[in-house]
């Protein structure tokens, strides 16, 4: 029987659909014209200029600091929340589940404004710390949901077996529970990191002086400023992401 070529064609069209815009973006980052649509020849002009833009690099540093710290903290809090939710089913935990679930469905703009009002009421100085708090707030929910999914097919007999064999709670946690939950935790962490690094709406409201993150900076550059700089920066970020994905795939292959 001859195999249909249809799935292959669909795959190619889909891949083209996903990656063509990215390809155009990378291409235009080498365009010497500042306007998309007109091609004035190859140039590294935007990359050179990007190198000199201290505010963009400052914004990138801010974004990375917030993303890493928010991911780390929300991983710890989200995982413990998930374990608690799975282990106990009191009325309190039902309420807890609602609280964890709410940030997933509340519109971002509502969350941004209400957090800003809250911080303003507490007289908290707006800055990286308030952005960090806001990001942890919504990242916890995503981490907790992903880890909770992993816990659904988790057999507690294993934990009991470990305790029978003399493991203390710390050893049980560190040697048994965490390794089994690790795929869920890693997935939750990646999700939290991506959400944190490209969040615009919430960050816009809770950012204070000197804590502009990359998405805010890019958004303000679209109207005022040089869009090709953004193309250049995106190309670099894309390269870094591809390399990271590539190496992580190779690493995971070696350890079955």
């Amino acid at each position: 029987m001859k195999r249909s070529r249809f799935p292959l064609i669909v795959t190619w069209i889909l891949l083209l659909f996903f990656y063509l815009p990215i390809f155009v973006l990378v291409l235009y980052s080498f365009n010497s014209s500042r306007f998309g649509g007109s091609w004035n020849g190859w140039s590294l002009h935007w990359y050179r200029q990007l190198y000199r833009e201290r505010e963009i690099w400052h914004a990138l540093t801010n974004s990375l600091v917030v993303a890493f710290s928010a991911t780390a903290v929300s991983l710890v809090l989200g995982t413990t929340a998930a374990i608690a939710l799975h282990r106990f089913s009191s009325r309190l935990q039902k309420f807890h589940y609602t609280l964890i679930y709410t940030p997933l469905v509340v519109p971002e703009i509502l969350m941004g404004i209400s957090l800003l009002l809250f911080f303003a009421a507490l007289k908290l100085e707006l800055g990286l710390f308030t952005i960090f708090l806001a990001h942890v707030t919504f990242c916890i929910s995503y981490v907790a949901m992903v880890v909770l999914g992993r816990l659904q097919d988790f057999d507690y007999a294993i934990v009991e077996a470990a305790q029978d064999l003399g493991a203390g709670w710390w050893t049980t946690l560190w040697r048994v529970l965490l390794p089994l939950l690790m795929p869920g935790i890693v997935a939750g962490g990646l999700l939290a990191f991506t959400l944190s690094i490209d969040d615009f709406v919430i960050t816009f409201f809770v950012a204070g002086p000197g804590s502009t993150t990359l998405p805010i900076r890019i958004y303000s550059m679209i109207k005022h400023g040089s869009p090709p700089l953004i193309n250049a920066l995106s190309s670099i970020l894309l390269l870094v992401t591809f390399l990271a994905v590539f190496f992580s795939q190779r690493l995971t292959k070696e350890v079955p």
């Binding site: 306007f35 890493f68 780390a72 710390f129 204070g208 804590s211 109207k223």
Partner: protein, 344 residues
């Protein structure tokens, strides 16, 4: 174990920015992206032993929403004039201390006559821009610098106007010889009919893509802002930018100080610095907008200085107006704009 110390490191790292307290004073500016020449900021930092922190917004509306919701900590802002008025009415702005601002004597008196805060009590004009018409020289025959160009049927489908009701209805009001801040129903109705007539020849109402459209020749004639279109002109010499003889809109971004500013003395010093004639000229050259500083004009690059679309001829300037906040009567413009959008 490694992971645990890594996590600890990250937690410490995220507390650091909040924990550190620097001794040097900081001037926190909330403004548009790339709106001050970086070298000038460095010079000010050196002269005043301070650090300047710049944050950026992309529209007056979002900036205002944030301030309104209680964001604090900013010293100096650069909103557009009509937003300055709103913010002043809401009590967000600090009255300026003229004793600390000797350089304000250089501010262009001609502009102040039409400004919304002519006494500079709470705002100082920073950068002026006007809307106008850009066109492809080689491909538009018999060009005349007038709004009536939008009547030209031979350019049908190759022209755009701004997707901004005040700018586009304002252009029609100017074309008819009325004020672009008109509250008169008859005048607005006449303007509506003019725009509906123009609309037949337009490709679309467009506020962003017209820049690349005119640069590539997709559009032959566009209505847009001077800062954007002068940049296009720099790259494509075949594009020319002119101000219609009937007059057009002038918009201005102002320097204002927030009432709760902790560094109001430094903020005053910064406004004074910006209106130093040499600094103002340097900034004008860098941005291609005009800093309304009379004494700086002779120091501006001759190329920019002699461009009639940047430094308007007096007889054109006399016909230009600042777009004012109309309060309740904005609804009239909304209605007319809806009718224009719905018309065929």
């Amino acid at each position: 174990m490694k992971i645990r110390s890594l996590i600890l490191c990250m937690i410490v790292l995220c507390w650091m920015p909040a924990g550190c307290r620097r001794k040097t004073p900081e001037l926190k500016i909330y403004t548009w992206a790339d709106y001050f020449k970086p070298e000038l900021l460095e010079r000010f930092e050196k002269e005043h032993q301070c650090r300047i922190i710049i944050d950026t917004f992309e529209s007056n509306e979002s900036m205002y929403a944030k301030i309104k919701a209680g964001a604090t900590g900013y010293d100096l802002l650069t909103p557009s004039s009509y937003f300055v008025k709103i913010m002043f009415n809401q009590g967000y702005l600090l009255p300026l201390d003229r004793a600390q601002l000797p350089n304000l004597k250089h501010v262009d008196a001609d502009y102040l006559k039409i400004a919304m805060d002519p006494q500079m009590q709470h705002s100082v004009p920073y950068m002026l821009t006007n809307s106008g018409i850009a066109y492809q020289k080689g491909r538009v025959q018999d060009f005349v610098p007038s709004w009536k160009m939008f009547n030209r049927a031979d350019l049908k489908g190759r022209m755009t106007m701004l997707n901004d009701m005040r700018e586009t209805i304002g252009a029609a009001l100017k074309f008819l010889g009325y004020s672009l801040n008109s509250r008169n129903d008859k005048e607005l109705e006449a303007a509506r009919n003019v725009v509906i007539g123009w609309k037949k020849n337009l490709a679309k109402f467009e506020s962003e893509q017209y820049k690349s459209g005119i640069a590539t020749g997709e559009f032959l004639l566009v209505h847009g802002y001077s800062g954007d279109l002068l940049q296009v002109q720099k790259e494509n010499p075949d594009v020319d930018f002119v101000i219609p003889v009937e007059g057009t809109s002038i918009s201005c971004d102002d320097l204002v100080i927030m009432k709760d500013s902790k560094e109001s003395r430094l903020a005053h010093a910064f406004i004074n610095f910006i209106h130093d004639p040499d600094v103002a000229a340097e900034n004008t050259n860098f941005l291609s907008y005009v800093c309304p500083n009379q004494s700086s004009y002779p120091k501006v690059d001759p190329e920019l200085r002699n461009n009639p679309a940047v430094f308007l001829a007096p007889e054109v300037k006399a016909k230009c107006e600042v777009i004012d906040d109309l309060g309740q009567d904005t609804a009239k413009y909304n209605r007319v704009w809806d009718q224009i959008k719905a018309a065929y």
